[in-house]
């Protein structure tokens, strides 16, 4: 086979050769579960939201792992969209939190108990 002169010959990354995909699955599932536990145990809206970010990043990591192991770029393109969505959600979420803070001076979600949680 004649090597393509335009593309530098890069060998298969050693992680992909040595680490089974299972490990990435477990790592990202752990991150995902930590995110879930964070959402369920904390009361501070900002920390809950950061836990959601952890869940999204677990999905990002897994998508990139699948896409690299399979040489299929569409998984990595999906990650772009997740980042765009995360940015949009953060903007709106923090605006909501700032709006509530203006009215109550507190960001604890249990604080306003007019509506039951």
């Amino acid at each position: 086979m004649i090597p393509n002169p335009n593309i530098p010959e890069v060998s298969i990354p050693s992680v992909i050769q040595n680490i089974p995909l299972q490990h990435y699955l477990i790592l990202s599932t752990l991150l995902f579960v930590i995110g879930i536990i964070g959402v369920l145990t904390r009361r501070n809206a900002i920390i809950i939201f950061m836990s959601v970010e952890l869940m999204l990043n677990a999905a990002n990591l897994l998508l990139i792992a699948f896409s690299s192991y399979r040489s299929d770029p569409s998984g990595q393109v999906f990650v772009f969209f997740i980042m765009a969505v995360a940015a949009a959600e953060v903007a709106v979420g923090l605006a909501i939190i700032v709006m509530i803070y203006r009215n109550t001076r507190n960001t604890d979600i249990g604080f306003l108990n007019k509506l039951k949680w």
Binding site: L25, S28, F32, G35, I36, V39, A45, I48, F49, V52, M55, L56, A58, A59, L62, L63, F66, R70, D72, S74, G75, F78, F81, I82, V85, A88, E89, V92, G93, A95, I96, I97, M99, I100, N103, T104, I109, L112, K114, L115, K116, W117
Partner: protein, 465 residues
């Protein structure tokens, strides 16, 4: 395809119209935009399945029918909003712009053929709804509803994404067709459990959005806290889009593993029916009752999903239409009445606000009665046929027990839907004659007329699809 492009463009135009001094132009302009989008939608009628942009979007008659329901509901809701003229704090251009954009998201969910379209569509719709829920900025209840909706929605997004990721891992593709190919060819004994796990997580995310039990807990608070006009939008457009997306997902990709998911959906449907109907009986607020009623209607629609056949597809479309029409009427009357009767400056949304409605406002009472009868599923209304089609499609598939439970639960529904009818006809009240704008009246009468028309002759609709 046309309505997506048109609405994106019109949304931007609407935002610019907000710069003009006179705010009166906004409402007619957006209504015109919606009519154009509706016309554009039906240009593709009967053109057969069309695929756009490397199979991202599929347009067939089912898509167009759902689009039509969504756009029609949006048209009615825009019309009864009255351009937000009565509230000096409101920002009508932004509200209309956000609603038009959220319709783009809804239409993406209806026609998606690739999971990225589902994801982006759900997000556009949800982000716009978070903002609109909190649009009553000085009201703490509205603020808190927005925060709650936002946090729960983002949490659900996390589940959805992880589900999509696992599906990608199992099948190597985001395309419905390829997932279908993989799922149908799994051998017994070497099934991909990752596919099952991914499907479950994706379903959890979607069921959150359509507020099925046990993922419904945010619904009553959010529906109650949001301004009523946006609650109407949520309970019609968002729900229709959510079920269209669920139907497309399950019918487009997972018919091969029907044996795995139908029991999950069936169990959730039964639970949703129980929670929705029993929860609704104990409410004193009409608005909160409608939130629970929305949950219970999600349960009926889930039954149609478990059947997943050609008749059940038509049943979902018919039911969504009937439910949307009646819900718009119910919220429309609620908005008028609650504005008239206030407690402590806030609109009174309890049942007793309706006391004596029929004496001075016979038309409103009639509209409310028809919509309640339709939601309860009484014969001669569209709601009856909606339920009938769903139950027969489930029975044809051989799922009898679930139909029995659903029929029992719909008799429970009669109790709480009739409470407001009794209030408005039999109880004494001091409600004066409410002034209703002529256009508002036209929309309410039109929705009521359609409800009765489809109730008398459901065949009109049958022949269309």
């Amino acid at each position: 395809m046309y309505p997506i492009v048109l609405l994106s463009f019109f949304g931007i135009v609407t935002l610019f119209l907000g710069f003009s001094k006179s705010k009166n132009i906004l409402l007619p302009a957006t209504l015109l935009f919606l009519i154009i989008a509706l016309a554009g939608n039906f240009l593709e009628w009967n053109k057969g399945p069309l695929l756009y942009f490397y199979d991202m979007l599929r347009v067939d008659n089912v898509t167009l029918a759902f689009n039509g329901i969504i756009l029609l509901s949006a048209f009615m809701i825009f019309a009864i909003s009255g351009g937000f003229q009565d509230n000096p704090d409101s920002e009508p251009a932004e509200y209309f712009g956000l609603m038009l954009f959220s319709l783009v998201g809804a239409l993406m969910m209806v026609g998606f053929q690739h999971l990225i379209m589902l994801f982006i569509g759900v997000e556009i719709l949800s982000v716009a709804m978070y903002v609109l829920t909190g649009s009553n900025k000085r009201n703490l209840r509205s603020n808190e509803a927005a925060l709650k909706y936002f946090l729960m929605g983002a949490f659900a997004t996390g589940f959805m994404l992880f589900g999509i990721t696992l599906l990608y891992g199992a099948t190597g593709s985001f395309k419905l067709e390829q997932i279908q190919g993989f799922a149908s060819n799994m051998q017994v004994g070497s099934e991909s459990y990752i596919l099952y796990a991914g499907l479950l997580l994706l379903l959890i995310g979607m069921l959150f959005k359509v507020s099925a039990a046990p993922f419904h807990f945010w619904t009553p608070d959010v529906y109650e806290g949001a301004p009523t006009i946006f609650t109407t939008f949520m309970s019609t457009v968002v729900k229709t889009a959510g079920f269209a997306a669920l139907f497309r997902l399950l019918s487009g990709s997972f018919t091969g593993v029907y044996g795995f998911w139908w029991i999950v959906i069936a169990a959730i449907a039964v639970l949703t029916l129980l929670v929705g109907n029993i929860g609704a009986t104990s409410q004193n607020s009409f608005k909160r009752m409608l939130a629970y009623s929305g949950i219970s209607h999600a349960g009926y629609l889930l039954i149609a999903l478990t059947a997943l056949s050609k008749p059940s597809q038509n049943a979902i479309i018919f039911y969504s239409l009937a439910y949307s029409l009646s819900t718009i009427c119910a919220f429309g009357v609620l908005m008028l009445v609650s504005k008239e009767k206030t407690i402590g400056g806030q609109p009174n949304e309890y049942y007793d606000a309706f006391n004596g409605l029929a004496k001075q406002n016979p038309l409103l009472a009639f509209v409310l009665t028809v919509s309640m009868l339709s939601l309860a599923g009484i014969p001669l209304t569209a709601g009856f046929w909606g339920k009938f089609f769903i139950f027969t499609s489930a029975a044809e598939r051989g799922i009898i027990w679930i139909t029995v439970i659903a029929v029992l639960m719909s008799t429970v529904g009669i109790y709480y839907y009739f409470r407001v009818i009794i209030s408005s006809y039999l109880k004494e009240g001091d409600l004066v004659k409410i002034r209703v704008a002529p256009f508002y009246k036209v929309i309410l009468v039109l929705a009521t007329f359609l409800t009765i028309l489809f109730g008398l002759a459901p065949g009109i609709f049958e022949g269309l699809i």
